[in-house]
Symmetry: C2
Subunit: 475 residues, 2 copies
């Protein structure tokens, strides 16, 4: 593609993107595509000769878009905030065009240095422990960050020889601790790292779905007595299911007492630390060995952009560093981020985050987060005031878990009807063995009218469902 | 950022990108930045208030670009082809703007279905085994793909209970086999998976740097006799160092005979299979359990875009699938790619690959690969005909390994002088314990004049170095 046709095609593309990201509210929010629908519409074979931009663009519009769930819509209230913004797109465009591989400092110095630098900015912005300064790295996701934290714990326990021998020679299981409400990535990491799923101890939670420190300590003591090797506590600050916060101070005490490493997974809630008034949950964080959160979740940097801070990166690099001659450079005293991650190659992901931080400034990001929290607070108030509904967990930050008073069938029906309308998209969870709807309010463009409209639709749909309710459906 | 300022800023951005990707030949190709230079130029703290687009753009130009090594330059001959192209940028822009998370089919059906579909196109285009149809997935890199292949082998060996117990309960090491020329990711994967570095058997190679099947079988037999559990052979087709090809047919025989899984890592060379005349090396691939190559290396899709095909994805999903209620959908008979990878979240990476395949068509991609191979052939001829130089390995596809006849010091000096000129960028390797220069010719815009200019500069620089040579530097 030469310059002029590229510029023409990019104009079409960017005009669509501008509309999509600043004004459009596409419906249905959740794609209504059926399995196999897109594949059936695509040719079985790739084209032999090149096709025109017009035909590619037209297929994007007509075939791809109907299969898209609009995660960037202000009416997307499902899962978690997954919000980009226009300036982040510009950062990604430049990062894509440069196409550098930042595996080593030497393969593009700016890619490494900007990354370390903006992660230090985050240390300051979020009031993170000073020990994390210079020790940050961008990963693709919190899943990878948590896996690396668990790897550090495994390596510390095995000692420098562990990377050579592997896990094969021991009959005393390594155990890791997290709450029953922790993210699925903890179990996945234990499986990948060869620690074994059965050696993940899921600690019970209190009535706010936060880990119970007394149960944690009891589990560790039990394991120590039976010859296990406790390695890691993974505390969750802002669980995916209900935004519960494990209490870091007592957990850090326990980690210290029994010499376990402490990882803090704040994938979703971490961005809130930019506001001093939301920092209560981070007391004790200064004693953590690692911390992760997702600027791609609630700080408007497009996925993927996970921030991972680790107190002692040597635990990472001693396991992950392999330097064949073709990657050897004479450069000393620099960070080679390939040794801080699973893949060798890496994109220039800090560019979009830098663009976002500069465009909004700290106050701009604070204002957006405060607005989301206020909207979630307003929504929680509506639930409290409506006798047909109940809160299913303490509302926190941008998440409200709620349900219709009644059985799970009613609540499933409510969710399905709402999502099938195409006007908005919510997801669900299970709390105390009950089906619960989740209202997650953190998209870049979500404002009061969107939340009010959602609430109107929720109440109207609930009314219709309750009116049709037959006696055997009642609780 | 509202629509109009976004459109204005995107116009500036795209005009620069258009120039950068179609016409510019920026120098120096390899950044000459010194460690800490960029960080020193950046403010210690993030801005409190938002900044203007003009100041962001100007810093991008003045601070970031000097720290960039121009991987997209037609004068970039280092490492491996890492070439994007303008249409791939457009695909990435749309994928970024949509900002969907394709973790589940249900979270954006088009993201999953287009991925399966274009990977099936690759099966046809590359003449891959039919067993890989419907079994492809995009990973970030071949490192991750190889790790997953090793995970499959570990899980097959451990049986369904393995994911629960982990590696802890056995005293018989799991062993994996690869050549001394294999990619660093194999050793890294063994470390991460708890298999242990010392259980990677590096098998000697022949004088063309290809794995010696007799040595492979001897190592497996030896390990079986001593109670090890051989799990995986990772064959490399197109080594990073010298583009050597392990012979798949005899290796597949050995894998069958001893019931090991066979993974084929063709990260760099895989794209060449699009040309029927370059398929010799893939004989035996139909017996492989998994295969990976990088469309982001030599098929003009921007990083990251690795293609990974696996005969029995159940080995992956039984280890990687964890479904908490908040990710549960009622959808049956679809692929949820989160269970085929380490992270949970995933970008819509197939869009750029689809754009590339449609824009160029199969013949367009073939023509570009053939051109690179012809240029590398021309370059190898120059080496052969110049008595001052020698080939350090058989030239293959787009890679020529060469050196000045003389000692390593001379060759190091040649490389350093060439790269310091800023006019081009080469990297090096070690072959037979000697320092070797690598000329990798696979960037999208590299044409005959670029290679001729490089050759002129190489000979002129060599002349100058040889002229200054003092007697004690001679071989």
């Amino acid at each position: 593609m030469e310059r002029t046709p590229f510029l023409n095609a990019s104009r079409t593309t960017l005009e669509w993107v501008g509309e999509y990201l600043t004004e459009s509210e596409p419906t249905p929010v959740a794609s209504q595509a059926r399995p196999g629908e897109l594949r059936a519409a695509l040719p079985d074979s790739p084209p032999v000769e090149g096709e025109t931009w017009d035909s590619i663009w037209s297929d994007f519009q007509n075939l791809i878009l109907p299969g898209i769930t609009h995660w960037q819509s202000p009416n997307f209230f499902a899962y978690f905030p997954a919000n980009g913004c226009p300036i982040s797109v510009l950062g990604e465009i430049l990062s894509t065009a440069l196409g550098v591989n930042g595996m080593l400092w030497a393969t593009s110095p700016a890619a490494t240095e900007l990354e370390t630098h903006v992660l230090d900015w985050l240390v300051e912005m979020l009031g993170l422990p000073e020990a994390f300064r210079g020790q940050g790295v961008i990963q693709d996701s919190a899943s990878s960050a948590s896996l690396l934290a668990m790897l550090c714990a495994r390596e510390r326990l095995l000692g420098p020889e562990g990377v050579e021998t592997g896990l094969t020679y021991s009959d005393r299981p390594i155990t890791v601790y997290t709450s029953t409400e922790a993210h699925s990535s903890i179990l996945k990491a234990a499986a990948i790292l060869g620690i074994g799923r059965q050696n993940v101890r899921f600690i019970e939670t209190d009535d706010r779905y936060a880990l119970l420190p007394s149960a944690l300590e009891a589990a560790i003591v039990r394991d120590l007595e039976s010859g296990c090797r406790p390695a890691l506590i993974s505390a969750t600050c802002g669980t995916t299911s209900s935004m519960a916060f494990d209490p870091l101070e007592p957990i850090a005490e326990i980690a210290d007492r029994h010499e376990l490493m402490l990882h803090v997974d704040a994938a979703m809630a971490g961005s809130s630390l930019v506001c001093p008034e939301f920092r209560d949950w981070s007391r004790g964080l200064e004693r953590a060995d690692s911390f992760t959160f997702n600027p791609h979740k609630w700080m408007m940097a497009h996925f993927d952009c996970n921030a991972f801070f680790v107190r002692d990166p040597k635990l990472l690099t001693r396991t992950l560093s392999v330097t064949p001659e073709y990657l050897h450079t004479d450069q000393e005293e620099v960070i080679d981020y390939r040794d801080w991650q699973i893949p060798l190659g890496r994109r220039f992901r800090s560019l979009k985050l830098w663009f976002v931080l500069r465009h909004y400034g700290v106050e701009g990001i604070r204002a957006r987060i405060r607005n989301h929290v206020a909207l979630a607070g307003w929504f929680a108030d509506q639930i409290r005031e409506d006798p047909r509904f109940e809160l299913a967990a303490p509302p926190a930050l941008c998440l409200v878990c709620f349900r219709l008073r009644g059985n799970d069938t009613l609540n499933r029906q409510l969710l399905q009807t709402l999502n099938a309308s195409g006007e908005l998209f919510l997801s669900h969870t299970a709390l105390a063995d009950r089906f619960v709807l989740r209202m997650s309010i953190g998209q870049t463009r979500t404002q009061r009218p969107h939340v009010e409209k959602a609430w109107r639709q929720i109440t109207q749909t609930a009314e219709a469902i309750l009116a049709k309710q037959t006696p055997d459906q009642s609780p």
